[in-house]
Symmetry: C2
Subunit: 308 residues, 2 copies
C-alpha cells in the first residue's frame, strides 16, 4: 500500500459533567486525509482545503505532521509522507477539529507502516499533535476520535483510557453557531480553584452518568449531565446559550450543554425520532438572533477513525 | 406487633474516590435496637449499652429518637416508643455509628407502624437523626445502612440515590485503631477550595470506579480508589496510616483508604481468601506501635438494616 485515505470524526468532549475526562465520537462532520509515502524522507503538506487558509503548511507547526513525527520518533524511524487534508468540519468549533486532524495523521501513517501500534497506543502521538494547536495535551477528543464510542480518561499519568457502553437509543444534536470562541479564552474563564462542595456535586454526576450508560437508563443519563464547573463560566462566551439550552430541553432533549470549549452546543436525545424537533428548536434561536449555524444529527460513532 | 428488634450495619463512606457521594454497608459490626410501643405518646430511651456512657438519654438529642421524631412529624402523628439500644460497634470510628443508630430507629418504627414508607423514603428521616450527632446531614452512611450494597448519592437537592452493582469477589478488611478522630477535626483539615486539576483527577476516578463495579473489573476498581482530596489531609490524623496502607497493598489488597472521616481504615480484597493475610498485616502495624485495634472482615452487605 502506497497511500491511504482516512476519515476522522468530530468529537464532543466534556459531556456536561465530565470536564476534561469524557468525550464521544459522532458520525459527521470530520476530516478526510490522504497520506502517501514519499522518497525524500520528509513530511510534506501538499494541500489543505476547507480551512479558509488558517492552517500551517509548516510540518513543524501542523497538527497532522507533528503527530506523525512524534510516532516516527518513538519508532526511531525516518520516513517521508505527503499529506493532503480536507477539513470537512469547522475549525475552533469545540468539536475537536485539531484532534481529528492529528488522529487522521497517526492512524493513516500507522496503516501505511503495517500497523506497528494498536489504536489505543496511538493516543499519545495524537495528543502530541493536538498540543501544537491547543497548547495543552488532552485526550478527551483524540481518544474518542481514535477509538470511537464514549471514552473516560481516568488518569493521564499513567494514561488510563476506559471505553464506556453506548446506549442504543442515544442520539445527539450538535449545533455550531458562527461565533468565535478561542480555546485560550474558554480556558481563561475557568477558575483555577473550585469550592469543594461544587466538586462533590460534579463527581456525583460523573459517577451517575457512568452508571446511567451501563444500566441503559436514559433518565439517569439526562439528569447527570449537569455541569457546575465549565458551563456556568463559559455560557457567557456563547450568545443566547441559555435560550438554546431551554429550547432543546423544552423540545424533549434529555440534556444539553457545551461541546468541548464551545461554541458548539450538544443535546442528548432519547432516540433518533426526537432529534428532528430538538435540532429545529435549537437552530431557530440562533437564526432569529441573526446568527448562522450548522446542525448535525448523529448517533454515537462506535468505530472512530476509519479507512475510506 | 408490639415490639421489634433490628440490626443496622456499619458502613464505609467515601470509598477513597467518592468523597461525600459513595458508601457501602458491611456485615459486621452494627447496632441492635429493640423498639416497643408505649402508651404515653412519648419517645423514651430506656437503655443504652456498649456506648461507654457517651450517648444521651434525652430524646431531643439522641440520634435514634430525633430520627423517629422526624418521621412522626412527616406523618403528622403522635406516637410513643420505648428504645433499647445495644451499640455493638465503636463510636467515632468512621464506620457510621450514629447513622446505624438513626437507621435502626426509623426502620424499626416504620415496621411497627405497618411500613408506611419504603426503605428509600426513610433516608431523609435517618439523615435528620444523624445530623444531631455529626452536625451536618449526609446520606453516604445512612443510605447504604438502610438499603445495603454500594450506594451513590448523585445529588442532595433533590435527593437522588443510585444503587451500584456489587462484584461477587469484593471483600473488605476494616481496621479500627483505638485513636480518636473527631468528625469536626476531620472536616476542619479539608480545604474549602481545591485546585480544578485535583478535582478533575477525582471525578475521573469516581467515574472509573463506577465503571469497574458495573464491568466487574477488580483491577479497575482497585486503581480507581485514589483519593486526592480527603486522604492527603486526613492521613495525618491517623497514626501510621501510610504504613498500614502500604502493608495492605503489599499483602495483596487492591485498594486501601480511610473509612469515612476515620480513624478506621478499609482495604478492598479480591476474594475472601485474600483477606486473611491483609488483615493480619494491617493490624500488625498498629500492634507493633502499641495501638490496639479491632479488625472486621466482611463481604458487602447487600440487604442493609434488617429485623432480627
Amino acid at each position: 500500500m502506497k497511500s491511504v485515505k482516512v476519515f476522522a470524526p468530530a468529537t464532543v468532549a466534556n459531556l456536561g459533567c465530565g470536564f476534561d475526562v469524557m468525550g464521544l465520537a459522532i458520525d459527521v462532520p470530520g476530516d478526510e486525509l490522504m497520506l502517501s509515502f514519499n522518497k525524500d524522507k520528509k513530511l510534506i503538506i501538499k494541500k489543505i482545503t476547507g480551512d479558509g487558509g488558517k492552517l500551517s503548511y509548516n510540518a513543524k507547526k501542523n497538527t497532522v505532521t507533528v503527530a506523525i513525527q512524534s510516532m516516527l520518533d518513538e519508532m526511531k524511524m525516518s520516513q517521508g509522507f505527503d499529506v493532503v487534508l480536507k477539513k470537512k468540519m469547522p475549525l475552533g468549533s469545540g468539536l475537536g477539529s485539531s484532534a481529528a486532524s492529528s488522529v487522521a495523521g497517526v492512524f493513516a501513517a500507522n496503516v501505511l507502516l503495517g500497523k506497528p501500534f494498536s489504536k489505543k497506543e496511538l493516543v499519545p502521538f495524537a495528543m502530541a499533535g493536538e498540543k501544537v494547536a491547543s497548547g495543552s495535551a488532552h485526550a478527551d477528543n483524540v481518544a474518542p476520535c481514535l477509538l470511537g464510542g464514549i471514552i473516560l480518561i481516568r488518569s493521564y499519568e499513567p494514561l488510563d483510557i476506559i471505553q464506556l457502553p453506548v446506549p442504543a437509543k442515544l442520539y445527539l444534536v450538535v449545533v455550531h453557531p458562527h461565533v468565535e470562541v478561542l480555546t485560550k479564552d474558554a480556558r481563561a474563564v475557568l477558575k483555577k480553584n473550585i469550592p469543594l462542595n461544587t466538586a462533590v456535586r460534579q463527581w456525583g454526576n460523573t459517577a451517575a452518568f457512568t452508571a446511567g450508560l451501563f444500566s441503559n437508563d436514559m433518565d439517569l443519563i439526562g439528569r447527570s449531565v449537569e455541569d457546575h464547573v465549565a458551563e456556568p463560566a463559559r455560557a457567557a462566551l456563547i450568545p443566547h446559550f441559555h435560550e438554546v439550552k431551554n429550547a432543546a430541553l423544552e423540545s424533549g432533549a434529555i440534556a444539553c450543554s457545551i461541546s468541548g470549549s464551545g461554541p458548539s452546543i450538544f443535546a442528548l436525545c432519547n432516540g433518533k425520532n426526537a432529534s428532528g424537533n430538538i435540532s429545529k428548536a435549537m437552530k431557530k434561536v440562533f437564526t432569529k438572533n441573526g446568527i448562522q449555524s450548522e446542525v448535525y444529527i448523529s448517533s454515537v460513532n462506535k468505530n472512530g477513525v476509519r479507512i475510506i
